[in-house]
């Protein structure tokens, strides 16, 4: 595998993961030595910084994460802020739907249903007080559980989760398929 292909794959991984990823994890996925991957990662990070690209790579200890170039902050922030202030994005709506129907539910469950890293959508929903933490699952790593809030019922204009016939019908039809 030539270096350009390696770079391309690393870019894809960092983009899709969104969160910090270690050189080890990437190395495993490419079946290459971690030291080699570290070099390539550092090279990409340097290049994008030198070229003043819109997406940079942040290094924290041995982990790497993609982020936007802080120089562009003023242009992104306005757009992102306006979008987030308005109605829920499709991503947030999907996440909310899963929490509503599967609660209490962990982030990993949400992400495996959506197939997309969902921590930013979860955070957005928490900010809007539509979902909240509901203790921890008694499992390795003690992952946080999420559930909907009273505000969710208020904003959805329903008295209780059980009040909705559509909701119930849906749950009946789908519950066993999710489990």
């Amino acid at each position: 595998m030539d270096k350009n292909k390696q770079k391309s794959i690393i870019e894809s991984i960092l983009f899709a993961m969104g969160e910090p990823v270690s050189a080890n994890e990437i190395a495993q996925s490419l079946n290459l030595e971690p030291g080699k991957i570290k070099n390539v990662l550092d090279e990409i990070a340097e290049e994008s910084e030198k070229e003043n690209r819109g997406i940079l790579i942040k290094r924290m200890n041995s982990k790497y994460q993609m982020c936007t170039n802080p120089d562009n902050y003023e242009y992104i922030h306005g757009l992102l802020y306006e979008k987030n202030k308005g109605n829920l994005s499709q991503a947030a709506l999907e996440t909310l739907a899963i929490v509503a129907y599967k609660q209490p539910v962990t982030r990993v469950e949400i992400e495996s249903l959506r197939g997309v890293k969902s921590s930013s959508s979860i955070q957005t929903l928490i900010d809007r007080t539509l979902i909240r933490e509901a203790g921890k699952l008694d499992a390795p790593g003690k992952p946080i559980l999420y559930e909907t809030t009273l505000e969710f019922l208020k904003y959805a204009d329903i008295g209780s989760l059980k009040e909705l016939p559509a909701f119930e019908e849906f749950v009946e039809g789908i519950q066993e398929k999710i489990n």
Binding site: N84, N87, E94, S121, A166
Partner: protein, 238 residues
């Protein structure tokens, strides 16, 4: 002939017909109607033997084939311009159109691989410093959920079919007896006479299945005289 193809594979009667046409490398617009009809009916019979659900669409095309077959025996009709009318024309045209869309569907399939291998990401989180009242449209919420579940391959089409439980008004066994009774009183009966007075598609289907069963068991036979448009049903000799 060995029919190895499982019947469940077919998307419908056109799919089955197209399969038969392709198998024998026949021109869609020049189908040897009697042999294709025979093979088509043999397939239907196999569905029945396997106790699979035979949908009304398959039966509908079966009767269409039989109709065409009988029309082929009649003197050739001409249209207003004096051109000969091919009784197969309409069905051929529909098959041809179906074939084109089947071709397009394999094109779609080829695109799917790229689509399923592409990953997107969620919007980045940005802290909103004011309190926001979020209106939630429950329809939208449900749609979002259905989308998640459908893409996650948790919803298979069939799971969402509404299964109407219909009271069976006529059973095949009853129809078998009824047809035999008619044939006890008369030596021959016209194919379509058996369908007269059928009040619902279910009864038509049941009657047709009963006929198939009787033909298969060599209790009745069907024939067409050259100059007759109709299929004549009669008891087998002996």
């Amino acid at each position: 002939m060995n029919y190895e193809v499982e019947l469940e594979e077919f998307q419908g009667p056109f799919d089955l017909l197209l399969h038969l046409v392709n198998k024998h490398e026949i021109d869609i617009f020049d189908i040897p109607i009697s042999s294709i009809t025979r093979q088509y009916l043999e397939y239907l019979d196999r569905i029945k033997q396997k106790d699979l659900e035979l949908t009304s669409e398959f039966i509908l095309v079966a009767s269409k084939l039989i109709e065409i077959k009988s029309k082929m025996l009649l003197p050739v009709e001409e249209d207003q311009n004096g051109d000969e009318i091919d009784p197969r024309e309409e069905l051929a045209q529909r098959l041809y159109e179906y074939k084109i869309f089947k071709e397009i569907s394999s094109f779609m399939k080829s695109k799917e691989e790229v689509y399923l291998r592409t990953c997107f990401k969620d919007p980045e989180y940005v802290e909103i410093k004011q309190e926001i009242e979020t209106e939630i449209d429950l329809d939208e919420l449900l749609k979002a959920l259905r989308n998640v579940l459908a893409t996650a391959d948790l919803l298979k089409e069939d799971d969402f079919k509404v299964h109407k439980i219909q009271k069976e008004t006529v059973r095949i066994e009853d129809k078998v007896i009824e047809i035999q009774r008619v044939l006890e009183m008369r030596n021959e009966v016209l194919f379509q006479e058996l369908f007269e007075g059928c009040k619902s598609a279910t009864i038509v289907i049941t009657t047709f299945l009963a006929l198939l069963q009787l033909i298969k068991n060599n209790i009745i036979s069907y024939k067409q005289h050259k100059n007759f448009e109709n299929i004549i049903i009669s008891r087998c000799e002996g």
